[in-house]
């Protein structure tokens, strides 16, 4: 039996090799065709991606839970060991914050009065949708995360995603129960920002490294290390004033920004619905995919 199989294997080999080669060629061509299609018709591919993600989301949700629990246990053990110092630090911080609270109260009432004087029309109140990070994907070439909130929770493409620390990214694709968030460090991320102190406008461009760069700075603008960068709200994609990061390097060659949000610490995020119309409708997203420097 074994012998016959062996013999058969040898006899069939040449034709099988040919067939194999055609098979491989076909599959590689199919892969390239998909890439071209992905370039040409973003909408369809994103829909396919969203439905695949939706199908796998429950599995990822279950898988990501024990990891998160373990992570929390480690954190708690760490916290126990430094309870004393932490307590002292918090007391001190509390003192300081009470002062700030008083200042904020005073400013708030003052603000209220002045707004009353000016007949100021307040902007829409933002709505928040909380989601848990169920996948941290992409490896070295794409920086994105999946959250377990989708269309059924009110998430829509183009919305800003934040944590208590600052801006995480924007919703890039959304399925029924899961949404993909493009992080600000991704190659395709472009966020209109301002330097908080000087109000210098710029665009924060990700390049798949940990430090996105400031581009389109006006000529002669000075940016120094430690400057806070916040969203500008230009282009209508994001509300203004969300903290993004601080300037880490500022040289002739370029300005890089250290984001406030750490990718590895993302566990729960908030999708912010400010009722603004995102700039990322289908057509501009298609152009966005091909953005070069």
């Amino acid at each position: 039996m074994k012998n016959r199989q062996h013999l058969g294997h040898h006899l069939v080999h040449p034709e099988k090799g040919m067939a194999n080669r055609f098979g491989y060629l076909g599959l590689v061509l199919a892969a390239f065709a998909l890439m071209l299609l992905g370039k040409a018709d973003v909408v369809v591919m994103e829909r396919v991606r969203a439905s695949v993600t939706d199908a796998v989301a429950p599995v990822l949700e279950v898988l990501s839970r024990p990891v998160a629990t373990f992570d929390r246990l480690v954190d708690e053990a760490n916290a126990l060991s430094s309870l004393r110092e932490e307590n002292a630090r918090l007391r001190e911080e509390n003192q300081r914050l009470i002062h700030w609270q008083a200042a904020a109260r005073k400013l708030a009432s003052e603000n209220q009065q002045i707004k009353g004087l000016l007949n100021f029309a307040p902007g829409a109140e933002p709505g928040f949708i909380s989601g848990r990070v169920i996948a941290d994907t992409g490896g070295a070439f794409v920086h994105s995360i999946l959250v377990n909130a989708g269309v059924r929770d009110g998430v829509a493409k183009g919305q800003a995603v934040i944590t208590g620390d600052g801006l995480v990214g924007r919703v890039h694709g959304v399925g029924t129960r899961a949404g993909r968030v493009l992080l600000i460090t991704d190659l395709n991320s472009r966020i209109p920002v301002v330097v908080e102190a000087t109000r210098t406008r710029a665009v924060l461009a990700g390049d798949n490294s940990e430090r996105p760069r400031l581009i389109h700075l006006p000529p002669g603008a000075t940016v120094s290390i430690g400057d806070r960068i916040v969203t500008s709200g230009h282009g209508g994609a994001f509300p203004p004033g969300i903290p993004v990061g601080v300037v880490a390097h500022a040289t002739e060659g370029g300005v890089t920004v250290k984001p406030y949000v750490h990718r590895d610490r993302l566990e729960y995020v908030r999708v912010v619905d400010y009722g603004l119309q995102g700039i990322l409708d289908a057509t501009s997203a298609a152009e966005g995919a091909g953005v070069s420097k």
Binding site: L27, A33, V52, G139, A140, L187
Partner: protein, 171 residues
Amino acid sequence: MKLTFWQRLDLIVRSVTPFFLTLVLVVLGQVPLHIPGFAEVAPLLPLMAVYHWAIYRPDLLPAIAVFFAGLLQDALSGMPFGVNAAVFVVVHMVVMSQQVFFTGKSFLIIWLGFSMVAAGATVLMWLLTAMFFSAFTTLDTAFVQYLVTVGVFPLLAWLQVRWQQSVLSQV
């Protein structure tokens, strides 16, 4: 010897496990581990499965299965559709063409082979994404990811060999 229905079913279920395990590795690779700096350099787990089964049991993980595993990887990771599919198929093809070389070789040689295949795969992936986005990124993180991938390989290879010896011994 004639097999009963259940025996045949058992064989079929066993023989699809390599494909199923490859898909599991694709999904496992997406789970957030909350380790600083790890997400960018997380090992390419499915690549190891593609390599392993192409050497030992190509009949159980044919090129078409590898192609679909690549598509799932693309869909979940947010990479352009077709990039991982192309990379996995090319890896499968390269390993299959070296089948004679790999048979009966020691683990060190298999590992060395993987380090070369993974290097090629990383560069190919980088080239394809660069072409797709028409922007070249630095290869630094990709290089670290490559090192992590090669480093994790022995563990996964051992698990897969165990699986092959226990579950697939009769298939």
